[in-house]
C-alpha cells in the first residue's frame, strides 16, 4: 500500500464511475464521492460489488460510482427484492443499494420494511431530500409537515422518520447523516459494508433545484448550521486492528461479527450508546421534538445481527456456480422418490 493505493493495491480512480448527469451541487453527487472514498479506503474488490437501485434521481447514481461493479437499476420501489435475490444467488458479493425518499418511503415502503425484517445483507442508502426531483418538485413522504415548496405551497402531512421505522422493525444498523459531512458518511459506509445484515443510512442530501430553501430542514444552509453529531464515529477494519489499541481514553470500541471495529468518541457530555435500543429511541424522539437540530451518527447497532444467508444456512459456495452434479439427486434416490408415488 503506497500513498495512493489501498490495501487491494488499487487507486481511487479504480472506483470511479461515469460522469454524473445530476444538477450541479446536488447532495447525491457528494454521496457518490463518499461511496467511492469508502470503497477505496476499505480496499473493496470492485468486481465483487453489486449496485442496486430503483427509480429517481438517487437511483441514477450507481452508474456514477465503482464502474467495475455490477449495477442493476430496477423498477420504482422494488430494489430490495432484486438485491435480496442477487444476494441469495451469490452471498459473497457486497451489495450497495441506493434509493431516495420517494423510492423508499412511498412506492417502495413495503419492500424496504421486509428487506429489514429479513435482514438482507446490504448497505441501503436513502438519499433523502424530501422532494420528488425528476418529476419536478412534488412533496415526498419525508418532507416536514408545514414545509414550503418553491411556489409557497405548504405540506399538509407529517413526515415519515425512516430511522425510527427501521428501529421498530429490528434493523441492526441504523445511521443518519448529511451528504455534506464527507468524513462521517465515508466512515458510516465503511462500517455498513462490514455489517452482517441490512445497514440503513438515512442521509439527508439537499436538492439544489427544488428544495434548497433557506428554512428547509433538507437544505444546505440549515443543515450546516443545525447538524449535531451524536459522536465522532470511526471504523477500523480487521487488517488495522492494532489501531484500536491506540484509541483508548474517551473512545468506545464496538467489535463487529466479521472482524473490524466501530469506534465512538463522545463530543459532549451526552454520550450516545448506539448498542442500546432505548438510547436509540430517545435520540430519535429528541430529533423529532427538537425542531432546531438534526442529530447525525450511528443511531443503533445490533452486535447480534445475523444476515439472511446465515438464517437460511446457505452453502458456503454461491448457489449461482453450482452444477448438475451438486444439484441433482442420484438416480437411485430419484427412483426411490418416484416409487413413493406409485
Amino acid at each position: 500500500m503506497s500513498d495512493t493505493t489501498n490495501v487491494a493495491g488499487l487507486e481511487k480512480k479504480d472506483y470511479a464511475g461515469l460522469k454524473s448527469t445530476l444538477c450541479i451541487g446536488c447532495g447525491h453527487d457528494q454521496i457518490t464521492r463518499e461511496i467511492i472514498a469508502a470503497a477505496f479506503e476499505s480496499g473493496v474488490d470492485p468486481y465483487n460489488v453489486v449496485k442496486t437501485s430503483g427509480i429517481g434521481c438517487s437511483s441514477k447514481t450507481p452508474a456514477y460510482f465503482i464502474g467495475n461493479g455490477y449495477g442493476i437499476n430496477s423498477v420504482h420501489g422494488r430494489m430490495p427484492s432484486i438485491a435480496t435475490g442477487a444476494n441469495m444467488a451469490n452471498k459473497n458479493l457486497i451489495t450497495i443499494g441506493v434509493s431516495g425518499d420517494g423510492d423508499t418511503a412511498s412506492i417502495g415502503m413495503g419492500q424496504f420494511c421486509h428487506a429489514m425484517r429479513r435482514n438482507t445483507n446490504m448497505v441501503y442508502i436513502v438519499e433523502n431530500n424530501g422532494v420528488y426531483g425528476l418529476t419536478k418538485g412534488q412533496f415526498s413522504a419525508t418532507s416536514d409537515k408545514g414545509a414550503k415548496k418553491k411556489g409557497g405551497e405548504l405540506n399538509d402531512y407529517a413526515d415519515i422518520d425512516l430511522c425510527a421505522l427501521a428501529l421498530e422493525l429490528g434493523c441492526g444498523f441504523i445511521a443518519r447523516s448529511f451528504s455534506g459531512d464527507m468524513k462521517q458518511m465515508t466512515t458510516l459506509i465503511r462500517a455498513a459494508m462490514n455489517h452482517d445484515g441490512f445497514a440503513l443510512i438515512d442521509c439527508i442530501s439537499p436538492c439544489v433545484t427544488f428544495n434548497n430553501l433557506k428554512d428547509s430542514t433538507k437544505g444546505f444552509d440549515w443543515l450546516r448550521e443545525n447538524n449535531v453529531q451524536l459522536h465522532e464515529v470511526g471504523f477500523v477494519p480487521e487488517y488495522e486492528a492494532e489501531k484500536v489499541e491506540q484509541r483508548a481514553g474517551e473512545t468506545v470500541t464496538v467489535p463487529m461479527p466479521h472482524g473490524g471495529f466501530i469506534t465512538l468518541t463522545a463530543l459532549d457530555d451526552e454520550k450516545h450508546d448506539p448498542t442500546d435500543p432505548a438510547a436509540a429511541r430517545r435520540v430519535l424522539e429528541r430529533s423529532r421534538l427538537d425542531e432546531g437540530h438534526v442529530f447525525t451518527g450511528l443511531v443503533y447497532y445490533d452486535r447480534e445481527s445475523q444476515a439472511l444467508d446465515r438464517t437460511l444456512n446457505l452453502a458456503d459456495e454461491p448457489l449461482c456456480g453450482m452444477n448438475e452434479d451438486q444439484l441433482r439427486m442420484s438416480e437411485a434416490d430419484f427412483g426411490t422418490l418416484v416409487d413413493s408415488f406409485c
Binding site: 467495475n68 442493476i72 441469495m88 444467488a89 437460511l312 444456512n313 452444477n323 430419484f334
Partner: protein, 619 residues
C-alpha cells in the same frame, strides 16, 4: 334432472359413451370442509388405484377453512379417461346442507349412501336410484367418545361401506389405511376397525344386488405414478437445477413452492456441511416474488416463483423489466377462475393472453403449457434451460385442476444430459473477446452474451437497466440504439421456437375436423374425440405446448376444413392467437369453450362440434 346451483351444476351433454357398470363410473363424496374427509377420500382413491384400475379424483373445495361444502369426485375408468365425467353414479352424502342437490345430481340408476340423520334422507322421492340410509355417525360413536374424532371416523365408515358394496379388495384397503397413518400404530388400528365396522354394517343392512357398479381388479396402473401436478412441477424444478424460490402463498399454487422446499430440504443439503444448496424466501407480495427471482437470475442462480392470476397481474412491471433487461427466471401460473379474485378454488385457463403480453410496452413472452404430470415434470425442468438460454422470464401455465388433483402418470425418467446455462462469458473467455457488448447480437440469433456479477475482468461489468439502453448497456434516448435492442429481442424470442416443446398431433389423419387444445383440456378432448367417433364424426387434434406458436399450428389449420379450439376461458384466448397467426384461415377457426370453473368434461367439445355437424359448418 332439475338445475342445481352455482359451481356444482353439471352440464348435460346429449351424447355419451355407453355406460358399463364394471370399472366405469363416478363416485361423489359430499362432505363438509374441515371434517377430515381428505384421508378417507385418499384411501378410497388409492385402494382403487392399487387394484390396478385407473382412477382420477377431483377435489372440489371451497375458499374456506371449515364449514362450507366440499365434494370429492372419483372417476373410475378402465379406458383411462381422466377428465370429469359430468355424471354421478355413486354418491356418499355426508353433508346435510347439500344433500337435496346431491340427491338430485345422481344419474338415473345411481346409488346413494346417505347419513340417516340428514333430514333430506327422510323424504327422497326419486325412484330411479337405489337409496341406502347408513348411520355413519352412530357407528363411529362406538369407537370414539370424542366429538372431533367421531367426525373423522364417520368418514372411515363410508370407506368400509364402499369396500363392501363396490367390491374393494379387503387386504388392499387395510394396507392403504396403514400407509395413510403410518408411524401411528394406534391410529392405524382404530381406523381399520372402523372400516371393518362399515363393512359389517353394509353386509348386514345394504342390499348388494341394488348396486351394479363394481371394481374388478386389473393391472392397468402397474408401474404408474399417482401424483398431483404441483408436486410433479416441483420435482421438475428440483431436477432442473432450480436453486432459488421466491414466492407468496396463493391458491392454487402454494403447494408447488411448498413441495419444492420440502423436497429441497431433503435432497439439497450439502453432505459435508449440512448447509443448504438452495434458498427459499417467502415474499411480502408477488411484486417482490418476481423481484427476488429476477435478482437471483441476474446473479446467476436458476430461480422460480409460482403464483396464480392475481399474482401474475402484480408481476406485470417486473415481467417487462425481465424481458427488456434480459434476465432469466421461471414463473409458474397455476390458473384459477378470474377476473379479479374470481372463484379462487375453481379452475380455468384464463391467463394465456395475460402471460403472453404481460407488462406495458411491446413484450411477447415465452409461455410453456404442459399437460399431465409427466410433462409438468419434464417441461418444468426444461423451463430453466430455456430461461437461461434465451435470458428471459419464462411462464409455465398450468391450472388448479392439473395442479391440485392427483393424476395417473407414467414414471418420471431421470434427466439425461446437463444444464444449458446459455451464453455466459467467464473472465477467461473475455480475454479473447475484442469488443464486448452485453446486448450485442454477435451470433445473429438475437441472443447476446451475458456476464455474471463477480466476474473478474474489466470488460465484464455492465449496468443493467429497464430504461432505454444501447448494445453496450449504456443509457440511451437515441432512437436507432433503442430500435436495435428492442428489435433484436423480438428476433430472439421468435427464434426460441426451435427449443420450445412442439405441438403434439393425434387422431385420424383423414379427418377434416381438427381440434386444437392445450393443458388440462387434453383430457376432455381425449374422451370427446371417442364420443364423436362413436357418433360417426372423425376428428384429429393438436395439443399446443408453447407460445410463440410453431409453424406446425399453421400447417394443421391449413390441412383441416374446420378447426375447433377447445379451451377453458370465455373469450377463446388461444383461438384468437391462432387467428392472428393464420389470418387467411381465421374464418374456419371456431371456439369450443368451457369456463364455469369445474374441471372440464368432454361435453362442451362434443356439443360444439355436433351442433355444426347437424348444421354443416360454413368453411
Amino acid at each position: 334432472m332439475r338445475p342445481t346451483a352455482g359451481a356444482k351444476s353439471l352440464r348435460a351433454s346429449r351424447l355419451r359413451l355407453p355406460r358399463v357398470p364394471i370399472n366405469d363410473f363416478t363416485i361423489n363424496v359430499a362432505t363438509v370442509n374441515g371434517s377430515g374427509s381428505a384421508s378417507s377420500n385418499t384411501i378410497v382413491a388409492k385402494t382403487i388405484f392399487r387394484m390396478g384400475v385407473p382412477i382420477t379424483p377431483k377435489n372440489l373445495f371451497p375458499s374456506n377453512i371449515a364449514g362450507l361444502p366440499t365434494w370429492f369426485l372419483m372417476r373410475v375408468s378402465e379406458k383411462g379417461y381422466q377428465c370429469r365425467s359430468g355424471r354421478h353414479d355413486v354418491t356418499v352424502a355426508m353433508n346435510a346442507a347439500t344433500a337435496v342437490d346431491d340427491i338430485a345430481d345422481l344419474a338415473p340408476g345411481g346409488v346413494l349412501f346417505i347419513d340417516e340423520s340428514i333430514p333430506a334422507a327422510k323424504s327422497i322421492e326419486r325412484t330411479d336410484i337405489a337409496v341406502h340410509l347408513v348411520p355413519f355417525a352412530k357407528i363411529a360413536k362406538e369407537y370414539a367418545p370424542d366429538v372431533r374424532l367421531r367426525k373423522l371416523l364417520a368418514n372411515m365408515v363410508y370407506v368400509g361401506v364402499l369396500t363392501e358394496m363396490l367390491g374393494f379388495d379387503h387386504d388392499t384397503v387395510m394396507s392403504v389405511v396403514a400407509e395413510q397413518f403410518s408411524g401411528k400404530e394406534k391410529v392405524v388400528k382404530l381406523n381399520q376397525d372402523v372400516v371393518n365396522a362399515g363393512i359389517a354394517h353394509a353386509r348386514e343392512h345394504c342390499d348388494a344386488s341394488s348396486v351394479e357398479f363394481k371394481i374388478e381388479a386389473r393391472n392397468l396402473t402397474q408401474g404408474k405414478m399417482f401424483i398431483e401436478g404441483n408436486t410433479a412441477a416441483a420435482i421438475g424444478c428440483l431436477m432442473g437445477g432450480c436453486t432459488f424460490c421466491g414466492w407468496y402463498p396463493i391458491t392454487p399454487s402454494s403447494s408447488l413452492c411448498e413441495d419444492f422446499i420440502s423436497l429441497a430440504k431433503k435432497h439439497r443439503i450439502d453432505a459435508g456441511t449440512g448447509k443448504q444448496n438452495f434458498a427459499a424466501v417467502q415474499a411480502e407480495d408477488e411484486l417482490a416474488s418476481l423481484g427476488l427471482v429476477l435478482g437471483a437470475g441476474w446473479a446467476g442462480a436458476r430461480s422460480m416463483t409460482a403464483t396464480a392470476g392475481p399474482g401474475i397481474s402484480l408481476m406485470a412491471e417486473f415481467a417487462g423489466f425481465g424481458y427488456y433487461a434480459e434476465i432469466p427466471g421461471v414463473v409458474f401460473d397455476v390458473q384459477r377462475v378470474g377476473p379479479s379474485t374470481g372463484m379462487p378454488t375453481r379452475t380455468q385457463q384464463g391467463d394465456l393472453s395475460l402471460c403472453v403480453n404481460l407488462s406495458h410496452g411491446d413484450t411477447g413472452h415465452i409461455v410453456l403449457i404442459p399437460a399431465g404430470p409427466e410433462e409438468l415434470y419434464e417441461i418444468s425442468a426444461q423451463a430453466f434451460d430455456i430461461a437461461e438460454k434465451y435470458q428471459t422470464p419464462v411462464f409455465v401455465l398450468t391450472d388448479l385442476d392439473m395442479g391440485m388433483n392427483n393424476w395417473m402418470s407414467d414414471r418420471f425418467e431421470y434427466p439425461k444430459g446437463g444444464f444449458d446455462r446459455g451464453k455466459v462469458l467467464t473472465a477467461e473467455q473475455l480475454k479473447k473477446v475484442e469488443d464486448y457488448g452485453r446486448y450485442k447480437d454477435e451470433d445473429g440469433d438475437g441472443i447476446p452474451y451475458r456476464t455474471l456479477p463477480g466476474t473478474h475482468h474489466p470488460k465484464a461489468p455492465y449496468f443493467t437497466r429497464g430504461s432505454g439502453h444501447d448494445e453496450y448497456a449504456g443509457y440511451t434516448e437515441k432512437s436507432p440504439a433503442y430500435i436495435k435492442v428492442i428489435d433484436r429481442i423480438a428476433r430472439k424470442i421468435a427464434g426460441s421456437v426451435v427449443d420450445l416443446p412442439k405441438p403434439v398431433i393425434g387422431g385420424d389423419e383423414s379427418a377434416e375436423i381438427g381440434i386444437i387444445h392445450y393443458g388440462s383440456t387434453m383430457y376432455a378432448v381425449e374422451e370427446a374425440r371417442d364420443i364423436l367417433a362413436e357418433n360417426g364424426v372423425k376428428t384429429r387434434d393438436m395439443r399446443v405446448r408453447s407460445v410463440p406458436l410453431h409453424d406446425e399450428v399453421v400447417e394443421f389449420v391449413n390441412s383441416c376444413n374446420v378447426v375447433y379450439v377447445a379451451e377453458q376461458n370465455r373469450d377463446g384466448q388461444l383461438a384468437d392467437l391462432i387467428r392472428l397467426k393464420t389470418p387467411g384461415s381465421a374464418g374456419k377457426i371456431k371456439k369450443a369453450l368451457y369456463y364455469a370453473g369445474m374441471p372440464m368434461a368432454a361435453a362442451p367439445v362434443v356439443d360444439a362440434i355436433m351442433a355444426d355437424v347437424k348444421e354443416p359448418a360454413h368453411v
